[in-house]
Subunit: 424 residues, 2 copies
Amino acid sequence: MTMLDTTHDASLQSWVPSANAADTDFPVQNLPFGRFSPKDGAQTMRIGVAIGDQILDLRAAGLADSDDMHTLMSAEASERQALRSKISQGLRLGSAQQATWANALIPMAQATLELPCEIRDYTDFYTGIHHATAVGTLFRPDNPLLPNYKWVPIAYHGRSSSIGVSGQKFFRPSAQTRNPQEDAPVLRPTQRLDYELELGVMIGIGNVSGDAIPIARAQQHAFGLVLLNDWSARDVQAWEYQPLGPFLAKNFASTISPWIVTMEALAPFHAPWTRPAGDPQPLAYLDDASHRAHGAFDITLEVFLQTEKMRETGLAHERLSSSNYRDAYWSVAQMIAHHTVNGCNLRAGDLLGTGTQSAPEPENAGSLLERTAGGRNPVTLKNGEQRIFLQDGDSVTMRAHCEREGFRRIGFGECEGTVLPARS
Amino acid sequence: MTMLDTTHDASLQSWVPSANAADTDFPVQNLPFGRFSPKDGAQTMRIGVAIGDQILDLRAAGLADSDDMHTLMSAEASERQALRSKISQGLRLGSAQQATWANALIPMAQATLELPCEIRDYTDFYTGIHHATAVGTLFRPDNPLLPNYKWVPIAYHGRSSSIGVSGQKFFRPSAQTRNPQEDAPVLRPTQRLDYELELGVMIGIGNVSGDAIPIARAQQHAFGLVLLNDWSARDVQAWEYQPLGPFLAKNFASTISPWIVTMEALAPFHAPWTRPAGDPQPLAYLDDASHRAHGAFDITLEVFLQTEKMRETGLAHERLSSSNYRDAYWSVAQMIAHHTVNGCNLRAGDLLGTGTQSAPEPENAGSLLERTAGGRNPVTLKNGEQRIFLQDGDSVTMRAHCEREGFRRIGFGECEGTVLPARS
């Protein structure tokens, strides 16, 4: 567990006024990293830190030698903490750096936020047991939770090329689907387009091929977390997923938030990691005392929807559900320890999705498939519109934040994406 | 289909003597691309073309501006053909370039062959129907070939970080496995380590997200083919693969050959693409007349094994099986058209595995799982040793070549890998 230090003091204020607003996701206690391109187009992609509604350009502030995010991410923990300390001190009220760093600030509104780093391998886990059970019931009514679920942090490899940053727009995908009454599959636009509410772990320090990362050190290899929307075409998935797992059902688009909230920023929000009574205890490579004490994270996750009609009538996004990452069956450290136990090498810039994080109750499910019980119970929005699955023009926004008595609230910013009509 | 031109003339000879040897994989008709580092260590990684037992350094020969293989691979077809023509002419007997290009040659024995390009996304298909049927019988005796197989070119996303080049050595992986008589899984070294004989398609020209690649143009997006050994831990796979597919069973190591044999070099070896009588015809996005006429490739594939004992007693690799890529159920063009039909974007450097290519008869299966019928019928080697699955110290080599009356034989070089004992 990362130690708490003065960068976490709730009393800290910044000389950037917007960072002191009660509702900002980016107070001086957060300091998430990302990449941006100034909208004036004169400069190439830069790396920066979000502070209120501003971005501190790290190279302009003399805090980085290059704009290579992988290098920054793969620094040793002590270096990362030193950098965080330096940034925190420089952005605090009364800092001697204010005069010079003020020139290294760019308003977020004048920048295009990019993917926070080049994504290398993308792995998607399945750590939400409420999701796994609910989806399992729909795909395999007799056999919802398979015998391996409580032993193995189940995962599959995903597609990196189609991962976009918040603001991503994608065409409704077409692929083969086969309805129960049909003799043969048909190529057509998906009729069961869904979102999946996930967090993504951005790997910082990698490991050499053959070297398993022990659970005790696993979290040091995580650089931070982002929000992840793992868009899914359920009808495509149902037809294609046997025997090798989802493919075209998931690889047309995945959206992440632009700011990586670091493990250091999340340090106050650790929670005990527990197993429900009666469930098997994990194998030793997935378990230790420190992990039990601190292995989970208390992060509130929310999904919002804005239909085209809502947009046209000036209605803001409406919240569909809220869940908490504390409820995940497998933790960040367990995902990393499991992924590498066979010697598989992780690299800076790898992304590990947590899988859909649903709350135990169906109305707080992290996907429409679960929320509507496979399409049987439509969601009715405040303006009277109904949804079973996503319609063209729908915009889905995910948000996350951490709150704890005695600490400043920090947030993840937004992960938004919009469905465009299928191409003819 | 790529047109034949003078670069394919069987009568061409090279001023590099070893390229004219009857048994070379790299005559002047082949000209595969790869990357290498001179063993003297003075230079960084370069790109080159294999010719006999030599490498032509493309930048030293004035044929490339940089050592960025992705740029070379993503050139338009006409540019690629022009480059091939220029290299072919310069390496022919009597070429005016001989005097200058002789200085751009480096003996292969003095170079370390690297991955032919940085691998971006890796997708592994399942196009070998004999393999799918044989493996399906072992995993699901009642239901070997699932209903989607003859409609969907089944695939899953694989792991890029652990792909190595021929010569790769890896530790026997440990992971959770659960034997039938056990109450709980155990973390232990795999007892059912296998190889899988595949070809890999290296993508050259990518596509923009949202743009499906039509079957008629699909093959233009392939830059060339390599050999691929998709090492697999069968006991790990059996325990973990439901419901999202293989993960730790495959991501510890995959090995490819160092030279990309281009689609231009393979042009003489196209074959008609056919469906067995009674099988469904593919959907329109996977089918057209030209594809039926030329969509397959006649490529002989072979697997060889050398045990530690054979190595100690001076015995060469022994051939275990031979199959032909002509027998694949889905073609290169169909893999590309299917992968992108939902708008998924491919990029230069993506690798698409064909899945295991087994011949119809069990003794020519492309994996030990099939070859031994799940471990029931051990393979007996000439020195009396037996194998059910791979043992520590085993070296597996794959080779491939194309032969056709009236054309020069071309080969793929070697794809070799060695199993090291599990780490304690």
